[in-house]
Amino acid sequence: MAGRDLRLDGLTKTFGSFTAVDGISLDVASGSFFALLGPSGCGKTTTLRMVAGLERPTRGRIRLGDEDITDARPYRRPVNTVFQSYALFPHLDVFENVAFGLRRRRAADVRAKVSQALELVELGHLARRKPAQLSGGQQQRVALARAVVNRPDVLLLDEPLGALDLKLRRQMQLELKRIQTEVGITFVHVTHDQEEAMTMADTIAVMNAGRIEQLGSPIDLYESPATAYVANFLGQSNLLPAAVAHRSAGSVLVDVDGSRIAVPADRCRSAGRDVLVGVRPEKVQLERGAGAPAGMNALSGGLVTDASFTGTSTQYVVRLPSGRQLTAFAQNTGRATVLPVGCSVTVCWDEAHTFGLDGAEDAAAGIETPDGPAAAARAGLPVGHVAGTGPGGAPDEPEAAPGTEAEATAAGGDGRA
């Protein structure tokens, strides 16, 4: 039974006039850890519920290997779900909760299988407790054991760590990954937390407004975002509007407020004249004065307007002569001193780290602010401003929301530069 790929084909779900999921097609390879990443309301949970059979698709097909399960009842699908709020049966103890699926299928060796599943999540000693007597983290493990014990073809996880505190969430991320590797079941994980998706998933599909913005490995998505939405939602990006000046086989030369910037041709997604030039903050180097190392993209005449030292790195905000702002993260390697505010700098970065997006895109797409992207636009932020809402990235933001973006960006930069 196991070892079948999950395939979604043009999956669509409408509620009245609202389209929650808009023609999603994707393949999830058997045994992989797949994440559907997006903000709330992007349709990721609806997609998951359609795979589980809890929601009927308006259009499109769901296949497991060669079997079409689009119209199969939930209890007929070799698919199990870890629900967002766990949905443990309060009248049954931990053992019976985990045994529920096995008993329904009249499986042999219920006792041994349940014990094994409870050992997997390290809860063997609590088998006779009721769910109400467990902590949130323990309940989460029971929910996982209850699903895994059935050895489904696909395990669906709906924001499984959403109700846990930050520390526990980190711990469970590693544990989920360990369990997935151990049991080899396909995991489809829905989350709005980009760090969570990047830590665990082999493949991430970034969703926005019912569609998939980009699909790929965490490194692909981070290093070569295809859209402004992905560039901003996954970590932070500096995005600057530019016009194509010259195209050659290897690179595209563009003009950013009078400076020449080279974008590798295979990293430039725009075929037209207008381009959004992007670079991740940790790839950006700041050089005092006007000089810049040869072979690097450079924008001169910058002024440091903000420098916040966070220990592992210093986060700078640099204002360019055009009035646009750029963010730069400098790793605290001990080799460079912290630049003071007011210091004149040249902003430079390796050509290979430059990416080009379609110039017609909204450079603020995918930026999570407490009031949403629309508010950021209303506030009149210049194009090419600091993207993302890390605690340090935007220190004057009223709320440093779940607080992992900046760290994740830094970590991503370390490992993948």
């Binding site: 059979g53 009842r73 939930p74 779900t81 949905a87 309060p90 009248h91 699926g101």
Partner: protein, 306 residues
């Protein structure tokens, strides 16, 4: 008397001259003061009458005196005599009340389920419809059942046509009519607690059951029904206990051979003026219900379902 004492006590505690310590003492006694009216009510109208009734159940008639005059002789045989004479009515009461409770559960559960989980915006209207009959007199509604079950009525003629009821037999003045009346009158007491417990049910638990290979009927049996047990227990108790002691339905819809224990108590008290027997019967009924209810709650195991 006690009310005046309470008022005086409160004033003393809250008085302007009250030292801090006295105020604290006043606060500590507040719960007891709040309990007082209820306790007084319970003592006056429950404990004292129960004691009086218990004493009455052991009395015997004064020889030669006029009817209704009794004296305390601690005659425990009053109980065995009453039980021996009225055992059929006793068993019939428990049987009718049991049948009515079962019917209420069978009718009320789907109804409560529909109101709680499927009614959507009609929910409040349906709840009002459940309670609406209370706006009409209990007696009138019960008498109306005579019309419903009359020989010329739709129910009887339909049953005759379908040959379920043999020709010539009628439904009025029968055990069927009494059980029907009991079921009808106590149905809201079953529906409301069931509704309350089903309404609290987390729909995601039912989804989870489906996700874990339970078909809809199995999901109901393993998840929905066990989680609605507090409502089932409350509903059956609220139906069974008053139904077992009811006498109006048997009096209005039954015949002499369908008498329930309530009718016997009624006639012993008010017609024959045989107070000790009536009192003894009341106590036996109370004891029987207490035993049954205790056994039932033990079995249903509701203490685990808070």
């Amino acid at each position: 008397m006690s009310v005046t004492a309470v008022a005086a006590g409160t004033r003393a505690a809250a008085g302007p001259e009250g030292a801090p310590e006295e105020v604290r003492r006043g606060r500590r006694s507040t719960p007891y003061l709040l309990l007082l009216p209820g306790m007084a009510w319970l003592v006056l109208f429950f404990a004292v009458p129960v004691f009086a009734l218990a004493s009455l159940s052991l009395q015997t008639r004064v020889p030669g005196a006029e009817i209704g005059v009794y004296t305390q002789t601690f005659r425990w045989a009053n109980y065995s005599d009453a039980l021996a004479e009225y055992a059929p009515q006793f068993l019939r009461s428990l049987l009718y009340a049991g049948l009515a409770t079962l019917l209420c559960l069978l009718i009320g559960y789907p109804l409560a389920y529909a109101i709680a989980l499927k009614a959507g915006r009609w929910r409040n209207l349906m709840l009002i419809a459940v309670i609406a009959p209370f706006f009409t007199s209990f007696i009138l509604r019960t008498i109306a059942w005579r019309q419903v079950l009359a020989d010329s009525g739709p129910v009887t003629s339909t049953l005759h046509t379908l040959h379920i009821l043999p020709p010539g037999e009628s439904l009025t003045a029968s055990g069927t009519a009494v059980v029907a009346g009991l079921t009808y009158n106590f149905l809201p007491f079953m529906v409301l607690p069931l509704y309350a417990s089903l309404e609290r049910l987390d729909p995601r638990l039912v989804e989870a059951a489906g996700d874990l290979y339970a078909t809809a009927p199995v999901g109901f049996r393993r998840v929905t029904f066990p989680l609605s047990m507090p409502g089932v227990v409350a509903g059956t108790l609220l139906t069974f206990i008053p139904a077992a002691g009811d006498y109006v339905n048997a009096a209005l819809l039954g015949n002499p051979s369908t008498q329930m224990i309530g009718n016997v108590v009624d006639s012993r008290f008010f017609r024959v003026v045989d107070y000790p027997t009536a009192a003894a019967l009341s106590f036996v009924l109370m004891a029987a219900i207490l035993l049954l209810v205790t056994a039932y709650i033990r079995r249903a195991g509701t203490e685990e379902l808070v």
